[in-house]
Symmetry: C2
Subunit: 257 residues, 2 copies
């Protein structure tokens, strides 16, 4: 990602330097909105939504924070004694996370993750970063890759936002357009803009709980629980499927017997 | 202006209906920013900048509020007993102003103003609405039209923003580009966006005090005083030029004599 594209990174870098900073999120149908503002990405644990705070209790072992942004989750877990590595596509996010004290941060996209990074016990996708899976197909492919990057007790803690919890006519029309095009309703094509910086267009996947279950089915992961919030966002805690492995073993035994 | 273009109007209409609403301002070089947010357009007198409050003391007689928006200046002056007419290009702004109690509002652009609307004693261009003059040339043409729409004691109370009071590299580069193209440094081409609504591109003119003096010179108006703020914005109070009329009369006498 070139510097002129690093809109999100510049936003949080400016905020770190004491300037007020708000990103703009533009969707490919022309819908636009001021974002949460940089302050939200710097919030301390006690300021987080209750669902996010509860989700942290499921972290264990070596943690990979996918799309770490300004590093708020990494910093919290690092402070709790976890071995944390953050990754972010945005070069300036990596810099901001480092400046704020995250000890291990790499400038990597979710698609660049591979087993050579070592084995993790927890993969964190907070801040609606289940969205980084981008599409049904890519989600399933990456979930399989994640199998090979995680220990047998590996977990995924992933936040999403249920796109159907809206009455907004622009959103409903957009979802309909998506379905007509064979995309998931909540597969939004967006870009981040901040002052003169314009990020590249990317797909970000918002799913209902039911849709998330469909995506996960057969990838070796199972959703152990959903942690709800008062709004449309929620957190899923996934673990590795044991039942599947057992039944496959049994199947093997049966065939052999 | 079609409804789908009335981004500003929808913003303030939503806010009136109790929804949080923030407009996005996009410049033609790709620079983008979240705007002031609708709340700013609904602020009560005591919440205004001191320079705006002081400016109101110069209002007299029949008042025309040019680009009245949500009607905050019209409502204040109407409440003080002035006969006020608001105009705005945005149909929904007209509706919002009416709903809030502005008694006379018309859906008109600044370029549609003409003496048939009657004679005004005060023309108000607050909220940086000197910008509605759009360019050096159009400003001078409209200032001459304003002569014919105002009483002999007519005043213009106009707010602008000094574009040179910035160190932002995007703004400085844009100003340079403008000068290269023969435009005034602060002649910004922008559009307002709000959710799915996209306003038309328009020129908005930001000038220094010196530039404002140059624009006004020879139009029959003179700037009586500038009211400064702590920031880059300021208010000019203009009245009709008497000296010019006198010297022209003298000139006539001399030629006749």
């Amino acid at each position: 990602m070139e510097d002129r594209q690093d809109a999100y990174g510049h936003e949080i870098f400016d905020y770190l330097k004491g300037k007020p900073a708000v990103e703009v999120v533009e969707r490919d149908d022309g819908f636009i909105n001021a974002g949460a503002g940089a302050a939200a990405y710097f919030g301390k644990f006690k300021e987080w939504d209750a669902s996010e705070r509860r989700a942290m209790a499921y972290a264990r072992g070596r943690v990979l924070d996918i799309g770490c942004g300004a590093g708020r989750h990494s910093l919290y877990l690092q402070g709790k004694g976890f071995d944390v590595m953050g990754i972010d596509l945005s070069p300036l996010s990596v810099r901001v996370s480092r400046l704020r004290g995250v000890r291990k941060v790499r400038n990597l996209s979710i698609t660049q993750l591979e087993p050579s990074l070592g084995t993790f016990d927890t993969l964190l996708m907070m801040g609606n970063n289940f969205g980084l899976f981008a599409s049904f197909k890519r989600a399933r492919r990456l979930l399989r890759t994640f199998q090979r990057m995680t220990s047998s007790k590996g977990r995924i803690i992933a936040q999403s936002l249920d796109p159907y919890k809206t009455t907004d006519r622009f959103h409903l029309a957009y979802q309909k357009r998506n379905r007509r095009r064979g995309r998931m309703s909540g597969q939004v094509k967006i870009r981040i803009r901040y002052r003169g910086y314009i990020g590249p267009w990317f797909d970000y996947l918002l799913v209902s709980r039911t849709e998330m279950k469909e995506i996960v089915r057969g990838t070796g992961w199972k959703i152990g629980r959903f942690i709800s919030s008062k709004g449309p966002s929620y957190v899923a805690v996934m673990s590795k499927e044991r039942v599947g492995l057992v039944s496959r073993s049994l199947g093997g035994s049966n065939q052999a017997g």
